[in-house]
Symmetry: C2
């Protein structure tokens, strides 16, 4: 069988796109990255032969010039430089030189490049992995289909809420609030990502206080709320013990702070997990907030999806954080696109300052899908009619969004929605 | 026993210092961080009582104003803002609210703050942990004393080199080069951090090719070269298998790419490890390269030392990377200062573009210590007289540095040093 060069590249090449900013030569810097991240060192050394280079050398495939930068991303270079050139540079690494281990990929293709001198900024804006990565990694165990099956929600977003205050409640206090939320008809409840197992609320006690309420409600109504318990721990053994506590008590979901546990923690957990893994990406912002440095979410999310995240928090429309709406929409599209197969898609989670008010725009801008978890904290808990009214208000907002009816109009005969508009349309729902 | 407020703080408080940059109010932002990272949400919620706040609320301890910023670190805000205020803000978190788990600490005290709106930059520039962290974490297993004992080097820096080219050599080729390095009298050899276990050089085969040479030389001379094999893997189980391969073959050291394996990988490994863990921090630069964002090394290194890093790469004087010398000196002082006890100090590793030429300045600026691993790649391998001459040249440079004799003078009757000055003093030793 003869395969084309393009096909060969697809199968045996890992391709990264770097957005480079430099007062020097883009070409020289592109070649330097390709060399430094594979065979190179600063002085010619014995053994750096042509054969060796053919085996492992990274190669510059394309350079796409962009507009000059107005200001350096990193203010290292002396001011007064005439031009700060920018370009998107595609560099291909032979698959065999890196392999499919994600720590090797991160080290060679991403981690190392941020230290290179002579640039005023570098951002990884694209990564194309060959099929070999599909077989080498588990991907999500539950993803969209599993999240729907376990919550019993079809044809609309899964609606979730967060127990507030974030920190400080004792287990019996959390259980009290949770009892009310369970009664509200909400599909999903989670610990704030900052709540793990502190002295005043050990995970074991929190589970013991909450799970009976969930199971009792399930017994009575057939509906089992998915509760995501904060199980993160820097020590994977401890995290697995936390996982087992949730599982043994009949729970089916856990919040994991992916950046704080790292690839090691996530990989270890996923291999052994029987819970839906709800990823919170706190800390991510420092890798992406400056547009001239770090990486795009569409690159970052590939690692965590391969590692097995089932649900992925990605902010939402008009969030309380710094992230612009366009960036959220891009993230949504990235997690919703198959890497290799539709089953490798995690459930996107829109959260932060959400209430029904963002439903129309979220629906319209994310490709008119209802495949998401729509997470409202204060937007449900602080509804003037209480949490049950809060949940109904969000459901109504999504009905309106899907039907293409303006919220104000739909609110005329949907009083819970009307009340939430009155309370939250100033943007205050956290 | 009556303890003072200051002592109480030391024992039961975690204190972070944030360097904040904002066009708005520093005070408001400081309070917002304290609130957001503990009890707070955007709307008052039932249950956020005074009692709860007393239990877990973070508090602003001090605000130290700094000079205004000239330009925003993150270019989000509209230009034309009158002032970009800056200040160092101390915030204390009750120990009980976070506990001693490092993933909780990272999530609550650091990860979350980067997402907060209304700032144009935030950098974590200080972290003081109470004694409770000492008992909760293993720290280095070998550190400075263990590294000296295993290499048999006293009274001078441990001198190391890196097998180059970084990638692409097959095991027998690596072994060939390594053989020559072992004969050279060097104390320490390492795989390039990018080399783990690719198809062309599986770790197992590399170990099988190299370790007999080391053991053979040990047999003959009594000197055992410490060889750091690249064992990193995103999957902690795989990484432990790699660890065991090294151990079973008689090896005593491993390179770990700490950011690529994460807290989970490091924690899992350290608990089970019997090897000296040599940390490479590739990827770190993106967290620190802009002075207005991310974090200082003195904060970052605390996590990894508690987790158990034995040797810590921190660049060096006149490196080939972006990092300025002052920053390296700060890093050296940070890793060399006890967190709680002198035994929790890892061995500092000065590397990148090093040869004997930087010895005097390194010695002078790091407090006249020889407690370091001095790592020269091309600086040894590319010495005109070969690696053995390269090693002697570096040893001679350190003798001169410690004796306070200028290198040029010492070179007069030390021909290897003279030859390295002739070759590398233009700055070309990678």
């Amino acid at each position: 069988m003869i395969i084309s060069l393009a096909e060969r590249r697809l199968r045996f090449m890992i391709t990264l796109t770097y957005r480079i900013e430099t007062p020097g030569s883009i070409e020289a810097l592109a070649n330097k990255i390709a060399s430094d991240q594979s065979t190179g060192t600063f002085v010619p050394v014995p053994g750096e032969t042509e054969e060796l280079k053919a085996r492992v050398a990274a190669r510059v495939l394309a350079i796409q010039p962009l507009e000059d930068a107005e200001r350096p991303t990193w203010p290292e270079v002396a001011t007064g430089v005439a031009r700060l050139k920018r370009a998107d540079v595609d560099i291909a690494f032979p698959l065999d030189a890196i392999g499919t281990d994600l720590s090797a990929l991160m080290t060679i293709a991403i981690g190392g490049v941020y230290s290179i001198k002579g640039m005023t900024g570098i951002r990884v804006v694209g990564m194309k992995l060959p099929e070999a990565f599909k077989d080498a990694h588990p991907g999500p165990q539950f993803g969209i289909a599993g999240s729907r099956r376990l919550t019993g929600v079809e044809g609309r977003p899964i609606i979730g809420t967060i127990v507030k205050p974030a920190l400080g409640l004792r287990p019996h206090e959390t259980a009290e609030l949770t009892g009310e939320l369970i009664e509200s008809g909400v599909d999903f409840i989670k610990d704030d990502e900052k709540l793990m197992s502190p002295a005043y609320s050990p995970l074991k006690d929190r589970i013991a206080a909450i799970m009976p309420l969930i199971l009792d409600r399930e017994q009575k109504t057939g509906k089992k709320v998915m509760y995501a318990f904060g199980i993160s721990h820097a020590d994977p053994d401890e995290m697995m013990r936390n996982h087992d506590l949730v599982l043994r008590a009949g729970g089916n979901c856990a919040v994991v702070n992916i950046n704080s546990i790292g690839f090691g923690g996530m990989s270890f957990l996923r291999k052994r997990s029987r819970l839906v893994l709800h990823a919170h990406r706190n800390g991510w912002d420092i890798l992406t907030r400056h547009p001239g440095a770090g990486m795009d979410f569409k690159v970052y999310q590939q690692f965590w999806r391969l590692l097995g995240v089932d649900q992925f928090q990605i902010n939402g429309i008009r969030v309380k954080y710094w992230e612009p709406d366009d960036s959220f929409v891009e993230s949504f599209k990235a997690v919703s696109a198959p890497l290799f197969d539709p089953s490798d898609r995690p459930l996107p989670v829109a959260g932060s300052g959400q209430w029904g008010g963002q439903a129309p725009e979220t629906y319209r801008r994310t490709g008119q899908t209802t495949d998401l978890l729509y997470l409202c904290g204060g937007g449900i808990v602080s509804h003037p009619g209480g949490p049950a009214a809060g949940v109904r208000a969000v459901q109504q907002a999504w009905q309106a969004a899907v039907a293409g009816i303006p919220l104000d109009e739909y609110a005329k005969d949907h009083p819970e929605l009307a009340a939430s508009i009155a309370k939250f349309s100033n943007g205050k729902a956290a």
